[in-house]
C-alpha cells in the first residue's frame, strides 16, 4: 500500500473514531473549567447512547422516519444535561468529593440504563435503529487532491459536528463573557463571587453542559457505529475522553487534537496489521501502540498538564 493509500484509510477513520471522544472531552472541559472534576463522563456517554437509541427506536416505530435520529440526538443532549444534575447536586450543593460522585455516576448510568432497557424491551439490549448516520463524501471538497480523500471523504456528519463544536467552544471559553466567568469560577471562585458572579450557578451550568456534550458523544457513537444500545455500547470511551481532556491541557482545541491523536493511533494500529511492512510485527505491539504512544508523548513533549486551580474543591462562601 502506498503511503497515501494508508493515510486515506487511517485519517478518515481517525476522525470518525475521534468524534465521540472530542464531544465528550468538550463536555468534561466545561465542567472542569468551572471547577468540578468529572470522572463521570463515561456514565454520561452511556446515558446519551441510551437516550438517543431509545428515542430513535420509539420515533421510528411511530413512523417519524429519518428525523428520528436527529431528535434522538437532541433527546440525548437534554437527558444528559438533566442526568448530570445529580453530579452537580452532589458536588456543588452537597459538597461531595467530586471523584466519588463521578464514580457513582458511572455506576448509576450503566445500572439504570440497562435496568430500564430490560423493563422496556424485556431484554438486555435494544434492536437496531433503521436510520443510522452513514458516511458520505462531501460534495466538491472530496474531489480536492490529497486533502479531499483525507478529510472530506467517507466522513460522518458527527465528525464535522464535533470539530465545529470544538471551535465554537474555543471561542466561547476564551472570547465571551460566559467563558471568562466560567474560567474564573474554576480558577478562583472567591474572586468570582466578589465580582458578583454566581459561582453556584456557573458550576451548575458547567456540569450540565458536560452532561449535554458527554451524552452527545455517547449518542454519536451509538448512531454511527453500534446502531443499538446495550450495557457494553460504551466501553471505556469516557475514560479516554477524560484522558484527551487532560492531554489537551483543558483547552478545547487541545482536547480535539488529543482525541484525534487517539483516533489516529488506534486507526493506524488496526490498519497496520494489514500493511505488509507492519504485518510482521506481533499484534500485541500494534494493540498497545495507541496507549504507549500517548504515554511517550506525555513524557516527551507534552509534560506537565495542570488543571484549573480550584478544580475539585467545593466552594464555600467566605472560605479562604
Amino acid at each position: 500500500m502506498s503511503l497515501m493509500a494508508v493515510l486515506a484509510l487511517v485519517v478518515p477513520a481517525a476522525i470518525y473514531a475521534a468524534a465521540p471522544l472530542m464531544l465528550t472531552a468538550l463536555g468534561g472541559l466545561f465542567s472542569e473549567r468551572s471547577g468540578v472534576i468529572n470522572i463521570g463522563l463515561e456514565g454520561l456517554m452511556v446515558v446519551g447512547a441510551f437516550s438517543a437509541i431509545v428515542t430513535t427506536l420509539t420515533l421510528e416505530a411511530a413512523g417519524v422516519g429519518a428525523a428520528s435520529t436527529w431528535i434522538g440526538l437532541l433527546a440525548a443532549v437534554v437527558i444528559g444535561a438533566l442526568f448530570s444534575l445529580i453530579h452537580g447536586l452532589a458536588s456543588i450543593h452537597f459538597r461531595a468529593d467530586q471523584v466519588v460522585s463521578g464514580v457513582a455516576i458511572n455506576l448509576l448510568a450503566v445500572g439504570l440504563c440497562v435496568f430500564l432497557i430490560k423493563l422496556m424491551y424485556g431484554k438486555g439490549q435494544t434492536d437496531y435503529i433503521s436510520n443510522r448516520f452513514y458516511r458520505f463524501d462531501v460534495p466538491v471538497l472530496s474531489d480536492i487532491p490529497v486533502i479531499g480523500p483525507l478529510f472530506f471523504s467517507s466522513t460522518y456528519i458527527t465528525s464535522f459536528m464535533a470539530i465545529a463544536l470544538a471551535v465554537i467552544v474555543y471561542f466561547v471559553i476564551y472570547f465571551t463573557p460566559f467563558g471568562l466567568r466560567i474560567r474564573s469560577v474554576g480558577e478562583h471562585p472567591q474572586a468570582a463571587d466578589t465580582m458578583g458572579i454566581n459561582v453556584t450557578r456557573m458550576r451548575y451550568i458547567g456540569v450540565m453542559l458536560s452532561g449535554a456534550f458527554g451524552a452527545l458523544g455517547g449518542a454519536a457513537l451509538a448512531v454511527t457505529v453500534t446502531g443499538n444500545f446495550s450495557g457494553t455500547t460504551i466501553a471505556g470511551q469516557g475514560f479516554m475522553a477524560l484522558a484527551a481532556l487532560i492531554f489537551g491541557k483543558w483547552h478545547p482545541l487541545g482536547a480535539m487534537g488529543a482525541a484525534l491523536f487517539f483516533g489516529f493511533a488506534q486507526a493506524l494500529s488496526i490498519t497496520g496489521a494489514q500493511i505488509p511492512m507492519l504485518s510482521s510485527v506481533p499484534s500485541v505491539f500494534l494493540l498497545i501502540a495507541p496507549y504507549v504512544l500517548t504515554i511517550l508523548a506525555l513524557a516527551g513533549f507534552v509534560g506537565r498538564s495542570e488543571g484549573p486551580k480550584a478544580l475539585g474543591s467545593a466552594y464555600l462562601k467566605g472560605s479562604r
Binding site: T176, P177, E187, A192, T194, M195, G196, K317
Partner: protein
C-alpha cells in the same frame, strides 16, 4: 451629621464563635476611616458583612442614610461599595483587564471587547495614578501592581465607598507611600474609605477617625488627631503595649554564614541573585532590607537548599552548603521561618503536633527505626505549645484552625527549638497584630543573645530597623550596602533600597 455608611448593632456568628457582637461603625463622607483590632477581632468579618459576602444575624446597615439589605457583592456594587480584600481576589491566569472587567464585561457582537476595556482601565489608572499594565498576566506582576489592579476593580465599577482590608501588609515602603497618595486622591475626589490595618503609624498618617474592635466587640471610635499610637494600641489590646524592642548591643563572634559570589536564577531563567556576598556572625541579627522582588526570596531559597544555585558558595561554619538538599541544610544547622506560612511552613491538615514534628519526625526520639512515636511527638508539641504560648485548643487541633499569629508561633517554636546555628526569618510578622509581633521580636533577640546568627528578611523598614544589628540592603540581586542599624534611618534605607547608593551618600 450624615454618614455614608452606618452599621448599627451588627452581630455575626460562626459555628462556635461570635465574630461580631453588636458592633457599630459610622463612616463620614470623604473620610478615611480606620478599623483597628487584633488578629481575629472580627474586622474582616464586619467588612464582609458590609460587602454582602456574609449576612448578619442582627443589626441594620444604612448607606447614605437609607436602610439597605446587602444580599451579595452585586448588591454592594450597586450601592457603590467596593472592597479590596485582605487576600487578593485575582485570577492569576487572567490579565489585569480581564480581572477588572470580570462580571461586567463590555462586549461587541458577543465577544468581549478587551481593547475597549483596556483603554478604559488605562484611563482610570491614569486619573488616580494607579500604574498598571492592562495586558499583563496577574501571575507575572508584583504584589503592588496586583493591589492596584484590585483598587481598579472597584473604581471600574464606580465605587465611591472603598474598603481596604490590610492593604499595606504586603507592600514595600515605597508602595505604601504610593498607596497613601492614591488614597488621598480618592478621598479628594469625594470617595470615602474604610481601611483595616494593624499599623498604627499608618493610621496616624492618613486616617481621620478610627474604630477599634476587640474580640468581636466595638470598643469605640476616636478622632485620630486627638490620640497617639500608644493610646490606640492600648485600646486595641486592652493593656499597655511596649513598642520598642528591648535589646542590648550585639556582641558578634565567629562567622556562621558566609555567602560569596552567589548567583541564582529564578524559574524563568532570569538571574535574581547576582554575585552576592554576605556574612553573618554568631550573636548578631542581620536584617535584609529591600523592595520585594529584588532577590530576597531567591537568596533564602538558595541558602536553604530549596533552589539550585548557578555559581558561588554558601558556607555554614566553614562547611559548604552548596548543592545540599533541604534536609541536609537543615541538619547542618539552619532554621527557616518561611515567608509563606501556608504554602511552605505548615501542613494545614496536619495537627499542630504533627506540624511541630515536621523537621525532626525522622529522628530520635520522634521515630526509631522508621517507627514513629506519636506519643513523643505530642509530648514535645505540648511542651513547645506551652513554652512559645501557641494558643490552640490542643496539640491535636488541625493547624488550619489556628489564627495566623498562632500558626506563626508554632512555626517559630519548631524552628527555634532545634537550636540552629543560623536562623532565617522571612517576613515573620506579616499580617500579625502588635501583640504577636512583640512576642516574635523578643524571641528573635533572645536567640541572638544565645549566640545564634539570625537573618531577618522583612519588607517592613520599622521591623528591620528595630530588630536588626546590621542591615544589608538588597537591590536587583546585589547587596548595595551594609549599615549598622543604630547608625541609620528610614530615609537612608529607603534610598538604598531604591538602588541609590551614591545618592545616599550625598544626602548624608
Amino acid at each position: 451629621m450624615s454618614y455614608v455608611i452606618e452599621m448599627n448593632g451588627i452581630r455575626k456568628e460562626f459555628p462556635g464563635i461570635v465574630a461580631n457582637d453588636n458592633i457599630t461603625l459610622q463612616v463620614k463622607k470623604g473620610e478615611i476611616h480606620a478599623l483597628l483590632g487584633e488578629n481575629g477581632a472580627g474586622k474582616s468579618t464586619l467588612m464582609n458583612v458590609l460587602f454582602g459576602l456574609y449576612q448578619p444575624e442582627k443589626g441594620e446597615i444604612k448607606v447614605r442614610g437609607e436602610k439597605v439589605n446587602i444580599t451579595d457583592p452585586n448588591a454592594a456594587n450597586r450601592l457603590g461599595i467596593g472592597m479590596v480584600h485582605q487576600h487578593f481576589m485575582l485570577v492569576e491566569k487572567f490579565n489585569v483587564t480581564e480581572n477588572i472587567i470580570l462580571g461586567s464585561e463590555p462586549t461587541k457582537g458577543g465577544k468581549i471587547n478587551l481593547k475597549k476595556a483596556a483603554k478604559e482601565v488605562a484611563e482610570i489608572s491614569k486619573k488616580y495614578g494607579l500604574a498598571v499594565d492592562p495586558y499583563a498576566k496577574v501571575e507575572d506582576i508584583s504584589v503592588g501592581m496586583q493591589q492596584r489592579a484590585e483598587i481598579l476593580k472597584t473604581l471600574y465599577r464606580g465605587a465611591d465607598i472603598l474598603i481596604f482590608d490590610e492593604p499595606t501588609a504586603v507592600l514595600t515602603p515605597q508602595e505604601i507611600k504610593e498607596l497613601m497618595g492614591i488614597m488621598k486622591t480618592l478621598v479628594a475626589e469625594g470617595k470615602s474609605i474604610i481601611m483595616i490595618t494593624h499599623k498604627l503609624k499608618e493610621i496616624k498618617a492618613i486616617c481621620d477617625r478610627c474604630t477599634v474592635i476587640r474580640r468581636g466587640v466595638g470598643i469605640g471610635t476616636v478622632d485620630v488627631a486627638d490620640t497617639d499610637t500608644q493610646q490606640l494600641a492600648n485600646m486595641m489590646v486592652g493593656r499597655e503595649v511596649n513598642f520598642k524592642v528591648d535589646k542590648t548591643r550585639s556582641n558578634p563572634k565567629e562567622t556562621v554564614l558566609n555567602v560569596s559570589d552567589l548567583t541564582v536564577k529564578d524559574s524563568r531563567g532570569i538571574e535574581m541573585v547576582k554575585s552576592l556576598s554576605l556574612n553573618i556572625r554568631a550573636g548578631e541579627i542581620v536584617g535584609l532590607a529591600g523592595v520585594e522582588g529584588n532577590g530576597q526570596s531567591e537568596l533564602i531559597e538558595a541558602i536553604t537548599g530549596l533552589k539550585k544555585i548557578q555559581s558561588g558558595t554558601i558556607e555554614l561554619n566553614g562547611k559548604k552548603l552548596n548543592g545540599l538538599s533541604p534536609r541536609k541544610v537543615t541538619e547542618a544547622g539552619v532554621g527557616h521561618i518561611p515567608e509563606d506560612r501556608h504554602k511552605l511552613g505548615l501542613v494545614l491538615d496536619f495537627t499542630v503536633g504533627e506540624n511541630i514534628a515536621l523537621q525532626t519526625y525522622y529522628k530520635k526520639p520522634l521515630s526509631k527505626f522508621f517507627m514513629m512515636s506519636y506519643k513523643a511527638v505530642y509530648e514535645k508539641a505540648e511542651e513547645l505549645i506551652k513554652d512559645y504560648d501557641v494558643r490552640t485548643p490542643s496539640a491535636y487541633t488541625p493547624a488550619r484552625a489556628l489564627s495566623g499569629g498562632n500558626q506563626q508561633k508554632a512555626i517559630i517554636a519548631r524552628e527555634v527549638d532545634r537550636s540552629p546555628d543560623l536562623l532565617i526569618a522571612a517576613q515573620p510578622t506579616r499580617g500579625l497584630d502588635v501583640g504577636a509581633i512583640e512576642t516574635i521580636h523578643q524571641r528573635l533577640v533572645k536567640e541572638r543573645d544565645k549566640g545564634r546568627a539570625v537573618l531577618l528578611m522583612s519588607l517592613e523598614l520599622d521591623e528591620v530597623l528595630n530588630v536588626s544589628d546590621r542591615i544589608a540592603v538588597i537591590y536587583d540581586g546585589e547587596i548595595v550596602d551594609i549599615v549598622n542599624a543604630h547608625e541609620t534611618n528610614e530615609q537612608q534605607l529607603g534610598l538604598l533600597m531604591a538602588g541609590g547608593k551614591a545618592k545616599a551618600g550625598e544626602t548624608e
